[in-house]
Amino acid sequence: MTEKELVDGCIREDRICQRELWDRYSKKLMSLCIRYCNNQEEAEDALMEAYIKIYDNLNKFKFLSSLETWMRRVTVNLCINKIRARKHIWNSISDDEYRIGFNDNTFENLQVQQILKLVESLPVGYRTIFNLYAIEGYPHKEIAKILAIDEGTSRSQFSKARKALQLSIEKLEGGVMPS
């Protein structure tokens, strides 16, 4: 079944197409939700809400991008709205953290699941911006707009997130301190 047929079927409220849409993307979107939410339950709630939203708004999908991209976007927006509703404060770690260097290739040696675990352990603010910038590929300008924060805050939060991850990786590898 092509994307077009799938979307048309869902708009017609065809249960088979709706089921196919669920089977095809639900686990991928679940992994996305887990990255943004605090725990499994919250992620599951977000996933279900996202699917309800997707089913209700599929008629607005114009095929300008792939269906998966659109669905991911809807899900990300929903997760962001949840985070915004929580009114998180976007500063946590002292600026001393900047002194520590960071190697961009740090993650290369890690498995995806390991990275995921590390990302999950980050505070909400860092995690959100790390997810949006590093994984989803949103530019800082757009992140700032989505989260209603300054672009500078987004950048600094990302920088801090990287450093927090670096610290975690060092702990994971046996506590090698940078010189």
């Binding site: 669920w22 679940m30 992994s31 709630d45 996933l47 770690i93 590093a134 590929g137």
Partner: protein, 471 residues
Amino acid sequence: MQNNPFNEQFKLRFQDLESPFSENVSFGIVMGKRKRKKRRVIFWIPLTLLIVLSFCGGGYLHFKSKGIAGLGKSPANQRSFAKNPSIPSKGFSQDQKIMAQGSEQAVDQRKRQNHSSPKSDLNQRNHALVIKSNIKGTKTTKHTISGIHHHSHRFQNTLQSNGKTLKLIPSSKDFIYSEVKGVADVTTFAENTNPSNPLVTIIDLLQYSKPLIDPKGISPYGFGIANPLEDQVEIPEGEYETQWDPTILESRWYTEFCINAGSMSMSDLQGKTPMAIFGTQYHANYQALVLKDCGRGFMIGAGIGYGEWIGNGLWVKNVNTLRMYVDSHDIVVLIPPVQTIRVRDTTFVNEVISSEGKIHYRVNKFSIPLAFYYQTMLGRISWRAGLQLNPGFTTKIEGEYFNNSEYFSIGKNRSFNFDAKVSFGPRIALTQHWTIILEPNMMLQSFYDRSNKRTNGKVLTGFGLSILHQF
């Protein structure tokens, strides 16, 4: 995006990543939720309309029933009667035998008088019947006149209450007082009355409108100081008196509208737990109740209520970490042979990583308040103690619920809630039917969190304002 090396690195690795979910999530559940969400919209609009219509209908019926009741009774008289049982409810009795006798005498007297007009005949007959039917034959004329006097006076009140003309009364008053001294026989007294006298009309009405008759007896009507002995007529209890039980005139049903708000703050300044939570919770409740007075100061009732319970807070978590810094310096010793010595300076710094965030939760709910009240007088003020049990269901749950040491997400599923309120406060009567009650109170707010399978609850102190209306 081209300048984002992280995205290039991560995108491919995360794009196809799949995560399993628990058995609580499935296609069927999602579709069910979606269906319920659609149904909710369809459900709530008619429900809101139904509630509004119920209130409007109730109000309409209330005013309608009040209007009908007003036609049948004299609120001024009945109220005073009910509230002052010490007033002797004499002055009115009926003795069928004497009435019949009186009727005959009246007819005979009428024949002697030879009135020609049929209308006058009718009026006079009624007049005589009434007078005779409301006196006791064994009593003196003076007392009898007093009895008549009572009737006319009572009827005056009745007329007032029914908005009819009062022009009739002065003439009847004049009539009575002009005749009191000289009249030896009541029948004669009645028959001598001009048929067109308004008193006749009044008594006609009196005879045929039992609901208008107030049996309590009003204080003597006249000028100057009344002689109480004159009115202490021992008249046997008549059937009217048994019919006129004042308690049945007192409505024992009330409506109450109540607004109640309260709050509670929490803080962990001692830092006993790794995570400190500072928060404020507040609630607002709106209730409409129908109450029944059970006597002896007790009142029970039920109704509908809507409440909102909101919590705003801040969590702070401090984690102490010991961090090691190594500074290395190369020292060149210039004395031959030239040597380089590397000195490593290690320092340990204790750093506190502080995380903080805002938390918020909200619980909206509908409930069915079951109220138990007790009213009593303390000093010169009337007080009301109340206990309310409000079982119900939540309509909206969201956010992170918190207590002193932890916070957690609460599920959005509709669930049961149970509130309870204990209150005590003064009653202030505004009018005869309207009363305000000020109620400082303590209210337990609780709900069942289906996601975490636990019951969350808090006791908030607050203040309520109730408006009580007697039907």
